[in-house]
């Protein structure tokens, strides 16, 4: 954020130097009285708040977001996999059918701060599509919003299913609908978003979501087959892994091209220590499907405290693309899978946040509450 416009400039063009005159005067008086009246004399003196009413020294948002009114709870969004309406096609292929409705909705993104969002199915991020590579995906898209929208999937599909305005079905006008249909490829951690123009506005208003394609173990052998099983939600091996979906996003509440609020899964400080830290068990492997849809800032990042993780860029490989790192950065629309474990760790609060300190202090700051078990 770069917010340097001054809405309330109280002192005139001579403010600075008039004030200087004051300081000079005070210095002269100090000399005369033999006391130190000059407030700038002791430059190294630091002012530390003695208000320790908060564990983080007063930092953070004040109040509570009403999740019931929003209609979604960030603690549930983590695990809210949407497998669709599942059936089998004549050729044996799995068909997953979804209905996405674009609706305008005001959501509370920080306590007391309301944002006029555009949503898929009334939530930001939209539903987390979870499928297996090769599945047939069929999405009926109904636009009940006030502007033309599309759904553009990051994946392999024909041009006619690309969700671009001006081509094939193009932008879906308010009150209209269309069907997007394609086979889910490649396996990995992907996303979808509206591709209507102006693009920045349509994306940052909230039209995006996770599109997660599990690998099919039958296509792999040996060690890779085993790894694929842990990634595929249809296999028992997957149950031993605690999987979480996190979308890094931001909100420009005053529409000046800079985000006032940053978050994972939309709500500033939702997983902070005094809000709802994410409870995880020591014994379980942890996996985060991490997606960056932040607008206006070129990159976002995740830094895990006191631990390291393996990273699978785009999630399209079964072997890590980065090993033993504690910070990963993603450009806009970049995503990947993080795998780590807190086995043998001391139970307690482990922080993770954007290591752009600015983003962290504006809401993208969270905790794992690591417990025995």
């Amino acid at each position: 954020m770069n917010r340097r416009k001054k809405k309330s400039e109280v002192i005139g063009r001579r403010q600075f130097l008039k004030a200087s005159a004051l300081t000079g005067g005070v210095a002269a008086v100090s000399a005369a009285l033999g006391t130190d009246l000059n407030p700038t004399a002791n430059l190294t003196k630091s002012k530390i708040s003695d208000h320790d009413n908060n564990t983080h020294g007063g930092f953070g948002a004040v109040g509570q977001v009403d999740y019931a009114r929003n209609g979604f709870d960030p603690s549930e969004l983590l695990y809210d996999w949407d497998y669709g309406e599942v059936s089998e096609l004549d050729n044996g292929q799995t068909l997953r059918e979804y209905t996405f409705v674009a609706v305008d909705k005001e959501i509370e993104i920080a306590p007391g701060v309301f944002f006029p969002a555009w949503t898929y199915n009334g939530r930001v991020p939209g539903p987390t599509i979870r499928c297996v590579e090769g599945d047939r995906i069929k999405i009926e898209f109904i636009n009940a919003g006030s502007h033309p929208h599309t759904i553009h999937f990051h994946g392999i599909h024909p041009a006619s299913m690309d969700g671009l305005p001006g081509f094939y079905a193009g932008s879906i006008a308010p009150g209209e609908s269309t069907v997007y249909e394609f086979d889910a490829f490649p396996f990995g951690c992907h996303l979808y978003h509206c591709h209507s123009v102006p693009l920045k506005r349509h994306i940052h208003k909230g039209l995006y979501g996770a599109f997660i394609v599990d690998p099919d173990p039958d296509k792999y052998s040996g060690e890779e087959k085993q790894i694929a099983k842990t990634r595929n939600h249809n296999y028992r091996e997957n149950e031993n892994v605690n999987e979480m979906m996190m979308i890094m996003n931001g909100f420009d509440t005053n529409f000046d091209g800079d985000n006032e609020i940053y978050a994972v899964n939309s709500i500033a400080f939702a997983y902070s220590a005094d809000n709802a830290p994410i409870r995880i068990r020591k014994s379980q492997r942890q996996r985060i499907y991490l997606i960056n849809v932040t607008e206006f800032d070129p990159i976002n990042s995740l830094h895990l405290h006191a631990n390291f993780f393996n990273y699978y860029d785009h999630g399209t490989t079964l072997q890590p693309t980065l090993r033993t790192i504690d910070t990963v950065m993603q450009c806009q629309a970049q995503r990947g899978i993080l795998e780590f474990s807190f086995a043998d760790f001391e139970p307690g609060m482990y922080m993770f946040h954007a290591h752009q300190s600015e983003f962290a202090e504006l809401g993208w700051m969270a905790f794992f509450d690591v417990v025995e078990g």
Partner: protein, 407 residues
């Protein structure tokens, strides 16, 4: 004749006078109730978010945080949802509530580990997502009104007010000696100085007026205050007949005094709003800048300036007159730093600058007349080259010495 009768009958046979006076009010009330109940302008404001306008009145910096005084200058209630300091969400408490009604005030307390002499930015985020920001350019603890602070502020006022004016008056004997040939030029120099002060006072007033909530119409207030002051001073002057040199000198001192009060206000307020800077050399700049004011005040007192006041003109002005004039012109700066430092209000500052401008304008008129009468007596043109040169010199001295105190 016929018409006259008709009018009279119409007045008498119609409704009583009090009803006729009330009639437009009743019509107006009817119109307002139509607006209130039918909302004919609904078409224009369907679904529009409220207009929000929060104005920072004062920021007090104390050991451990900021105390922000706010006023809602907009037509709708505003709810402050979150507070950011230096682009980070921060805890805060707000009195009397987080929602401020139009024109109401509120106080926000933000515990924050601010850093001495560094800049901090406070941003208020409202429930609609709008932001209002204020930058504390150099954080230093806001002085609380104690005896030492009072003395310190007062001495700053002495530095920028009394000392330079008094120093300027020390030229009086020299001015007397150089003779009547130069008097026109000296009076013209005084006018040049006053014109500079007039423009400066207006600009300063208009700048502060900008921070007032729109409903106060701050810019108009400056002009109204100036106009009113000028009229009152003119009326007083007219009652007294042709103004005497002492009266003009007194008026000069008063006008400059109000201007210096404004300067004091700004200096004090700079501290009150958390703006303060380094550099004691600049006090000297201010002193230099205001020295010319002293010359201006005593110019009408020169013996040969007393056109038509031969009796009064022959008196040697007593020392106590000079002291009195110095206090009238300089002491308000002390008052200004006190008010600005401990009880700054943009509204009063705006009005003060307007009053100052009006007073200075009246002085320009009086000194101008004095110059004109002097020129007539000496059989010279009022706008002689010498006088124009004097005027330009006055303007130039003020302009150049202002370099020392302008950012």
């Amino acid at each position: 004749m016929n018409n006259q009768t008709n009018v009279d009958t119409a007045t008498r046979s119609g409704f009583p006078t009090w009803l006729m006076i009330l009639l437009p009010f009743i019509a107006l009330a009817l119109l307002l109730s139509v607006f209130a109940f039918t909302d004919p302008l609904a078409l224009f404001k369907a679904d529009l978010p409220p207009i929000e306008d929060l104005i920072f009145q004062r920021i007090e910096i104390f050991d451990g945080g900021f105390r922000v005084d706010l006023i809602n200058g907009g037509p709708d209630a505003v709810t402050v949802a979150q507070v950011l300091v230096d682009e980070a969400y921060w805890n805060f408490s707000m009195e009397p509530s987080q929602t401020i009604q139009p024109l109401a005030r509120a106080e926000i307390l933000i515990p924050y580990p601010w850093v001495e002499t560094e800049a901090h930015e406070i941003v208020l985020l409202t429930d609609t997502g709008a932001t209002f920001s204020h930058e504390v350019e150099l954080a230093v603890e806001t002085p609380s009104p104690g005896i030492t602070e009072f003395i310190a502020y007062g001495l700053v006022g002495v530095y920028v007010g009394i000392i330079p004016v008094g120093l300027g008056m020390l030229w009086y004997p020299a001015m007397k000696r150089i003779g009547r040939k130069w008097l026109g030029a000296i009076l013209a120099l005084t006018i040049g100085l006053l014109v500079f002060l007039l423009i400066d006072t207006f600009l300063e007033g208009l700048e502060i007026a900008e921070q007032l909530p729109g409903v106060f119409q701050g810019e108009a207030l400056v002009f109204f205050a100036a106009l009113l002051t000028w009229m009152v001073l003119s009326a007083i002057g007219t009652r007294r007949g042709r103004p005497s040199p002492r009266y003009i000198a007194g008026l000069l001192a008063l006008g400059i005094g109000i201007h210096n009060l404004g300067e004091g206000l700004v200096i004090g307020a700079a501290f009150a709003l958390g703006e303060a800077a380094l550099g004691s050399l600049l006090v000297i700049g201010f002193t230099l800048h205001n020295v010319t004011e002293g010359i201006g005040i005593v110019a009408p007192l020169l013996p040969f300036a007393a056109v038509g006041y031969s009796q009064e003109g022959k008196d040697r002005p007593a020392l106590k007159l000079f002291v009195g004039l110095t206090l009238i012109a300089g002491a308000p700066a002390i008052l200004g730093t006190w008010i600005g430092g401990f009880a700054f209000s943009p509204l009063f500052a705006t009005i003060f600058f307007g009053i100052g401008a009006g007073a200075i304008w009246q002085v320009i008129v009086d000194v101008g007349r004095l110059l004109q009468r002097f020129a007539e007596r000496e059989n010279e043109a009022t706008l002689s080259w010498m006088n124009v040169g004097g005027f330009l010199l006055g303007l130039t001295i003020m302009y150049l010495t202002a370099f020392l105190v302008s950012a």
